[in-house]
Amino acid sequence: MMLLSIDWGFAGVVCGVGIGMTFCILVGLICFIKLLSWAVGLKDKKPTVEAKAEVKDDKKTSTSSHPTSHEQAAIALAMHLYFDAHDEEPHVITIEEVEKRYSPWSSKIYNMRNFTK
């Protein structure tokens, strides 16, 4: 009798619209995020005037007598490996000792509440 008194049609509409709206809004948000990431990616990919100038400079330097920064790094690594050179470490550990100034205001032993364990 109790079950018959319920308007199941209305309940079905609430559920249908609820589930439908939740999915539609969230699917809409997926599309929106994809669009957003595409737009942001497009903006990032577009080379700016400064970036273009940098690229040009890089090309110029690579054709001139000076090696580029990558070439310099490669040469340095090759020399390092060839000469088997290592930095010598002093093996001295220096830890600065910190002077702790305890006072009744900062010391834990002067806490207001002492818990007994």
């Binding site: 209305f10 709206m21 939740t22 999915f23 699917v27 948000l29 942001v40």
Partner: protein, 421 residues
């Protein structure tokens, strides 16, 4: 020696006069015996007579305090709720008067008589007017990183799938004899979102606020117990071992634009969800924009903590003996755990369905994180995933559906408010 003795006697005589003379003068008007019996009668112990249900509620509050302190079940909220429950059930304390909020309205005229208004009545106004849940959402937004969701937008589908439980429970509650408004409030427990559950219940069925809040927060604490058996039952060992592709890096611009546009889109489509979504996204914008660090810290810590205390105490205060100790509470607890289980199951099953159509396989375990118990549900996905494959890290993948679940449950709440409010 003699002098001090005489002084002492004088003092004593003086005191005797102070107390005795007025008493003798008033002897005809007021009886001392009456006053004393009136004083003892005003004690809470005297009012316990014939009010033994209060004692049961006090015991329930002790159990909840034990769960919060010893078992650490969502202690930040369960402890204030339990203490509010204790305060409201102490006979004679008069801290909370349900009659001020009878029939779902605030009886402002009765608030004028300050003698009949308790502290918890004033605090409860924040729940009744929907202030605390929204302010807590502000803090939740400031603590949430939508990065994993933006990196893998498909997570939104898992967040939506888990909300199916809300509407399934709504049907179940209707069949068990609850009204539409009560059924909607019970269904929202399946969203595993405490502030949303409280917000909806305070609007639709305030008489159920106590049991629903206790059920929602207890089950959120029990996520590591409820979810793993369901996740294991619905997946194979091979599925649990799936390693997902690493997430892309999300730019700051995306993170800033996201909360602004989500608020606009959801509020325009579903105005009833605007307070919750608006606060959630405002909090997130404060975090992501990078120019309001002080505000972000405030909403994450001070504001959130203050609101949590007020919300907990005032929600606990609604759990009076008459509203809590009835068969309805038991039904709410059963429906609540069913809603939770259904939400977890529908998330896992939808993830499996997505794998049928998707090239990049997703681990179905992250589907259960679609219920928005942040970040507990995501942690459970990570732990269960690592049991099957110790080198698999699902946490960040699971955070996507987890935060999508927060948005999903607010949307579902908005639909329920629009239809039943």
């Amino acid at each position: 020696m003699k002098k001090s003795k005489s002084n002492l006697i004088k003092c004593f005589a003086f005191l005797l006069m102070i107390f005795l003379v007025p008493t003798l003068a008033m002897a005809g008007e007021v009886s001392i015996g009456d006053k004393i019996s009136e004083f003892f009668g005003s004690m809470g112990f005297a009012q316990l007579e014939g009010n033994w249900l209060c004692l049961v509620m006090i015991l329930v509050s002790f159990v909840l305090l034990y769960l919060a302190i010893v078992k650490k079940f969502e202690p930040l909220l369960l402890l204030p709720i339990a203490f509010g429950m204790l305060l409201t059930n102490l006979p004679g304390a008069g801290l909370y008067h349900p009659e001020l909020f009878a029939e779902g309205h605030v009886h402002w005229k009765d608030f004028a008589d300050a003698n009949n208004v308790g502290l918890l009545d004033y605090l409860y106004l924040g729940v009744k007017l929907g202030i605390y849940p929204c302010l807590i959402f502000l803090g939740v937004g400031a603590m949430t990183d939508f990065g994993p969701l933006l990196a893998n937008p498909k997570s939104f589908l898992l967040g939506a799938a888990a909300q199916v439980a809300i509407f399934a429970t709504f049907f179940g509650a209707l069949a068990l004899g609850f009204t539409y408004e009560q059924a909607g409030s019970i269904g929202i427990i399946g969203g595993a979102d405490g502030p949303t559950a409280i917000y909806i219940t305070s609007k639709l069925a305030p008489e159920l606020l106590g049991p629903i809040a206790v059920a929602a927060y207890s089950y959120m604490a029990l996520v590591p117990v409820i979810q793993p058996p369901i996740m294991k039952a619905l997946t194979t060992e091979k599925e649990r071992q799936i390693v997902m592709k690493q997430l892309r890096k999300v730019s700051k611009t995306e993170k800033i634009i996201f909360p602004i546009l989500v608020t606009a889109i959801i509020a325009l489509l579903l105005p009833a969800a605007a307070p919750l979504v608006g606060c959630l996204m405002l909090g997130n914008l404060l975090r992501e924009c990078g120019v309001t660090e002080r505000l972000s810290k405030t909403v994450q810590n001070e504001l959130m903590n203050i609101c949590t205390i007020f919300l907990g105490i005032s929600v606990g205060a609604t759990a009076t003996a008459s509203s809590f100790l009835n068969p309805q509470t038991l039904l709410i607890l059963v429906l609540g755990v069913t809603a939770f289980a259904l939400g977890s199951a529908s998330g896992v099953l939808f993830a499996k369905l997505m794998n049928v159509f998707s090239k990049n396989k997703i681990n179905p375990l992250i589907g259960s994180a679609g219920v928005s118990a942040v970040p507990m549900a995501a942690r459970v996905s990570q732990n269960v995933g690592q049991e099957a494959n110790p080198s698999n890290f699902l946490l960040m993948h699971a955070m996507g559906p987890n935060v999508a679940g927060v948005i999903g449950s607010t949307v579902a709440a908005g639909v329920l408010l629009a239809f039943l409010g």
